[in-house]
Symmetry: C2
Subunit: 203 residues, 2 copies
């Protein structure tokens, strides 16, 4: 009962890590098996194909991220804009770890697979969109309070934030370090502050 779940979870954890380091195509099933300390026989008992593993890993990653952000301290703040800015700062704080630890599995995989593996593309799309959607409530509330007449939608801003994060990760990979990403998130924060008239707030 536990072993079954544990083995599958171990495969998914390893897959997440290896996919984020080498990408989908370059990671072999053996890589994942070795990382999880299992053999191929076990692997193909849990997953029909490598593609199925990728789809499951995308879901696994999304669940992990969901747990991380929904319980983060900034979530307790009263003001919706504070929560939104808290999200960005929390993202910045995470940048301290190693590259494969803070980058996004979904963005990494969808780049290679969007044309050749529709199932993976769909999984990545759904989970990115769902994560972006976790921001829309706060954005909508903040908009009502601080920028009620603005023309943009809460949904599009949520996606823009995701895009900036994904792009920041790419630059961090290119530079082999998180410093650029931190600077990018600084600009993102400034954009949000300008959008919501952060300076004039509460005066």
């Amino acid at each position: 009962m536990q072993t079954q779940h544990e083995s599958k979870t171990r495969l998914l954890d390893t897959a997440m890590q290896v996919f984020r380091t080498k990408g989908y195509a370059a990671t072999t099933v053996d890589d994942v098996c070795a990382g999880a300390g299992l053999t191929k026989g076990s692997f193909f008992h849990h997953f029909k194909t490598k593609e199925e593993l990728a789809v499951a890993a995308a879901r696994h990653f999304a669940e992990m991220a969901d747990g991380l952000f929904s319980t983060a301290p900034y979530r307790a703040r009263a003001d919706p804009l504070d929560r939104l800015l808290g999200y960005v700062e929390f993202r910045r704080a995470i940048l301290q770890g190693k590259l494969p630890e803070f980058t996004c599995l979904l963005g990494t995989m969808v780049q290679e697979t969007y044309d050749s593996h529709p199932a993976i593309r769909r999984a990545c799309d759904r989970h990115i969109s769902e994560h972006a959607a976790t921001l829309t409530d706060d954005i909508a509330q903040a908009k009502r309070l601080y920028a009620p007449r603005a023309k943009w939608t809460a949904e599009s801003l949520g996606l823009y934030i995701q895009a900036t994060l994904q792009g920041a990760f790419i630059l961090a990979k290119a530079r082999h370090g998180p410093a650029v990403a931190d600077e990018c998130l600084g600009h993102l924060r400034r954009y949000l502050e300008l959008l919501f008239n952060h300076n004039k707030r509460k005066e």
Copy 2:
């Protein structure tokens, strides 16, 4: 004389296209050969390894992009901020084509190779940074004119613009269409307008 250059260019053009569609690891040397209408013998005459092809393709891509942007009509505008906003709008206009036509080879390749192929990572890093640097002059001039006291640097804003573009491409791939990317660039434009007090300009 002509044949030699033409074959190599054809290999590079094909590589650019296939890499952008399937990523680095998933494209085979045979893919590139078939696309270029050549054989492996010819391929390995021009490139020692597949990795060397990737590095050359990155350079090829950067040269192509350089030609495209340096001759674009918006470059002729007198005001530096107009040129900067022109760049963003030009990027939006390009989104009309198919996905492998407007996405960035450098961002795509570096995601998969940053940890396993240092030479490719370095090439991508250099060409992304160089492209970002083509914006810094305009940004610095615009800053002097419209936001002289701002704390951010021209260089970091250029990189932020690149990050946003890269992220917009990822979302476009996930959604299998450029609409999201267009919305993202709308936000990016708004950020630039807010940063440079675009509304109050020339008053």
